[in-house]
């Protein structure tokens, strides 16, 4: 295991480093995971069109400029793509050394949100507004927690000391993950906490940690839910809000309205949809938060089963390839990182699309690549960079 050296691509000998040879045989370009890259780019571009459709008429938020959100979305995409390239250039191993710093930074950002510097948007205090840009530290936490846990769990295994992480290591890594989870709970950002739990589970599974940890964690989660339910920690309206995805009449003015309108939008799309920019639900702005959390409803209504199904297919491509990368990684570190990303993307995709389809409760989680939002866009593209980095350093002989 070697440290990163400057801007060479990790895992390659110095003789192969550099962009001049990227198209050579066995070059970086040949070894990149193109399906993931193309699917991610396609999802982002489809997302741009959907965001544009959802926002071009929303004069109350686009400041009179129909392209306001489109421009920012594309800019975010550009930054995200650059971050992906940077991550790939640095390599996940190089980043491994920076993990403590990145972890510390992201936790610090999340803590700042809890101070008066944080902004409350849509009832959740999970925003940080800096110079006209708003950041969601929760998105970065997802990346750093994967990297952090992976580092802790994989170090001794990759060193060949042990086949699996021992209990002490697992406990330490869980402690590492618990801190940001607590911060997220204080915001409160329940959706992100759930995503964190999914990520932690994915990471633990991939690390080879004892089944006891996995089942213990699951049992704790179930007991926690029952406790919240039985001890009436939540008010009835909160429970109603949570359950409204199944029965919108429980919270007709709040989340129930969203789910109802979302379902109408998607249902009315039919096979081929109303056509981009022609959805009446979208044009009439019946679905709140349509450019962010409910962006899938635009696809459902305007692109129909064909278009919305294609989005699910593209997500499937990303997840399938990411799983392959996790399985094919030569070291546990890469496996854990890839599996964590799989858990993260899969949970958010299922939760986000599921809530618009009325099979999951409504939480504020963006749809990876598609939803409008800088922090999420940056984080998912960094994740793509990590996946590519893991892929490209696979030995040729493998």
């Amino acid at each position: 295991m070697t440290g990163a050296n400057g801007f060479s691509v990790s895992g390659y000998g110095p003789e192969r480093a550099g962009w001049t040879r990227i198209f050579a045989r066995d070059s970086l370009a040949r070894r990149l995971d193109w399906p993931i890259l193309l699917a991610a780019v396609a999802l982002s571009l489809i997302g741009s069109a959907l965001v544009f459709s959802a926002t071009r008429n929303r004069t109350e938020i686009n400041q009179g400029d129909p392209y306001f959100f489109l421009e920012r979305h594309l800019m975010n995409l550009g930054i995200g793509f650059a971050l992906m390239l940077a991550t790939l250039w640095l390599g996940h191993r190089a980043l491994r050394n920076a993990v403590p710093i990145l972890y510390g930074l992201s936790v610090l950002l999340a803590l700042v949100v809890l101070t008066p510097l944080g902004a409350t948007i849509n009832g959740q205090r999970n925003w940080l507004v800096i110079g006209g840009f708003s950041l969601q530290p929760a998105e970065f936490l997802k990346v750093t927690i994967i990297l952090g846990m992976a580092m802790m769990l994989a170090t001794r295994v990759d060193a060949g000391d042990k086949p699996y992480p021992d209990h002490r290591t697992v406990a330490q890594s869980l402690g590492l993950a618990a801190v940001p989870c607590l911060i997220l709970l204080l915001m409160p950002d329940l959706g992100s906490v759930l995503a964190m739990v999914a990520i932690i589970l994915g990471v633990l599974l991939a690390s080879g940690a004892s089944n006891r940890w996995v089942f213990g964690l699951l049992t704790m989660g179930v007991i926690g839910c029952i406790a919240i339910w039985q001890l009436h920690i939540l008010d009835q309206y909160q429970i109603n809000r949570f359950a409204a995805f199944a029965n919108p009449s429980l919270d007709p003015a709040g989340v129930g309205y969203n789910t109802n309108q979302a379902r109408i939008a998607i249902g009315s799309g039919g096979l081929t949809g109303a056509g981009l920019f022609h959805g009446s639900q979208t044009t009439g702005q019946f679905v709140p938060e349509q450019q962010t959390d409910f962006v899938f409803t635009v696809a459902g209504e305007e692109l129909g089963f064909v278009g919305a199904g294609f989005i699910i297919f593209l997500l499937g491509v990303v997840l399938w390839r990411a799983c392959r990368i996790a399985r094919d990684s030569t070291e546990l570190y890469g496996t854990i990182v890839a599996a964590g990303i799989v858990a993260w993307f899969a949970f958010q995709a299922f939760e986000n699309i599921g809530m618009t389809l009325g099979i999951m409760p409504v939480t504020g989680l963006p749809l990876p690549f598609v939803s409008y939002g800088g922090s999420s866009m940056f984080a998912v593209w960094v994740a793509v960079g990590l996946l590519q980095s893991i892929k490209v350093q696979k030995p040729m002989s493998a």
């Binding site: 060949g160 080879g208 249902g267 799309g269 009446s280 997840l319 399985r327 699309i353 009325g358 002989s397």
Partner: protein, 752 residues
Amino acid sequence: MTNIPETGRTPRVQIRLVVIQILVLSLLGTLGGRLWYLQIREGAQYQKEASGNHVQQVVDPAVRGDILDARGVPLADNETRLVVSASRTDLLKQKDDGKAVLTKLAGVLGEKPADVIQKVRLCDAKTPKPCWNGSPYQPIPITDEATPKQALQIRERAEDFPGITAEPEAVRRYPAPGNANTAQVLGYLSPVTDAEIQKAKDTDSPYLRSDMVGRSGLEREYDKELRGKAGVTRYEVDNLGRVIGKAKSDSAEPGSNLVTSIDSRVQRVAEYELDKAMKAARQQFDKNTGENFKADSGAVIVMEAKTGRIVAMASAPTYDPNVWVGGISAKDYKALTGKDSDYPLLNRAIQGQAAPGSTFKVVSTAAAVQAGYAWDGGYPCTSSYSVGGQVFKNFEGENFGDISLGRALEVSCDTVFYGLGDNEWKKDGGINPKKGQPKDWFFKTAHQFGLGKETGIDLPNEVTGRVPDRQWKLDYWKANKDAWCKSGKKDGSYVEKIAYENCLEGNKMREGDEINYSIGQGDTLVTPIQEAMIYGAVANGGTEYAPTIGKAVISADGKSVQEIKPKVQRKLPVSQATLKGMDDAFAGVITRGTAAWKFNGWPQDKIPLHGKTGTAEVYGKQTTGWLATYSKDYSVIMTISQAGTGSGSSGEAVRNIYSALYGVQGDGSIDNKKALLPQPQKGLPKVRTDGTIDAPKINGDPAKDAEASQQNNPSNGSDQQPATSPSPTTGNRNTRRRPRRTPGRGSRRMPS
């Protein structure tokens, strides 16, 4: 690097990764399945919901068509009023939800700001009235009684009143031309019910919550034609109700105008004469009951004999139809329908029924001829007719010896008809006829004359009257025998005795039943409109027409004219020779018979009149008088309940109606200029190129004019009170509507 131990690929991890991969794919599969379910399987349902979501309908009410008389004079039209309305959608766009504008508006209208603000809030379970119950996209009326000055203030400073409009709007009005009220014939409108809204929701003519629907009379019968088609503008709106586009819209089609055969002048004369006759009757002493006649209700019909078209139809007591306009008050409603009211909403010309008395003899005579009795045979007209100890007397005990059927009809000899009826009863097998044996000529003929069923007049809720034949007796007995058998006593009071007898053999046609029936007494019931139809048929040579009031439906632009043709119902079962005989007999009634004392000096040679009087006995009440008459062109039927004989109560009134129709002066001369309608109105009123209808003006009161020309009438004042009773106020003068008229759309309006 090629020999890096495969630490990332330990079996445990490898298996778990496969599990994760499978889990992830199944989750995505779940999403795909759910997507398919929503979009493909349930797609149509959601598409419907989506379109309901974003399309709002604004209904533009159609102007209701006018009801016109035969010359085009409006009996029901629309008054233009200035309605100030507020558009919620526009108000909500303002910063304070329009509060400032509404407050300013309240100032202009002289109302309290709070009242105005309350009117535009939407109704829900918690909101007390006033509140707006209709669509939030519909302009909400603040007042329909704005003055032109107020409207001008609002319209000239439109920028100060965003979302507020002041527009003239049409409101129903019954102008009563020449004081012709015509209340029961016109009917009335009342607000549409929720059930009706639901029913019409998906049709091409949906109701507005503020819509009015015809509830009786012509307004109901021709509701569909008069209503027109409301225009619907469909707006695409966003989630805040802001209009983002216009979808398919249908413009309003104003309702068609209904031209009736009513002549408002004749109608006025008929109403006036009916009222006068009833008032006069109340001054008369009734020897039988020892008190003055009550004359509690009555009806008069003037019908074109050759077509069945109704020229005038009046029912008393009456009311002012304008009380319904703009919503009837609880007090007014109670006065019209309460237990203590005299039910002025009833149109007694079609909904009142009574025993026809001697006017029924036209049926009995025809029945006798059908049964084979010779017209000129000698039938004993004795002063009484005895059957098994029961004595049936002639009306006034007169005795004419053996007479013909025609003479019997003319002098209304009851005993002749008793004999005929009794004879037929015996021929039919008496009290216990064999099955299939009874020919029942008297009952069969009544049915052939159209009695016992609706005439088919174009008015709702006509009653059938009753022919008390064997079937009816059986049905009636079955329905009542329990009560009869319980209360009947053999030696009890009159009522108890009757009940006792009915219990025993009420299911059978008894001798007395048929004898009573032969002169139109007993259980027989007819309506005035049935009499008008029958006597009209006698006048026109034997054809019964379904009476009609509607003459044509003319579209609002005048381009489509749909005539309502007279409809032949049936032919009377009477030969021309018999009709001729009847005609002569009925002329005799006027010249020398029971009605002659009311028709002294009538120019019978120029305008031959025919008639039959009738007096129906009603147990426990004073007698109901009938006077059925006809000329060459018209049949005029009048009946007054509890007012004595037909000729006594109605003779003068009927004569005055004929005088007005033909211009007969008090001295018997004919002044064609004063004749209101010497011949039935043939054509339809002229429709101008713009769709408005050319209508003559009616100055003054036709009834008063007609009355003035009767000063020298030898009959007037000969028996009853002279016609100096105060003028009845049946016109719609004291309407609760303000008399203010504003210029506007009402181009067809008549000065009244």
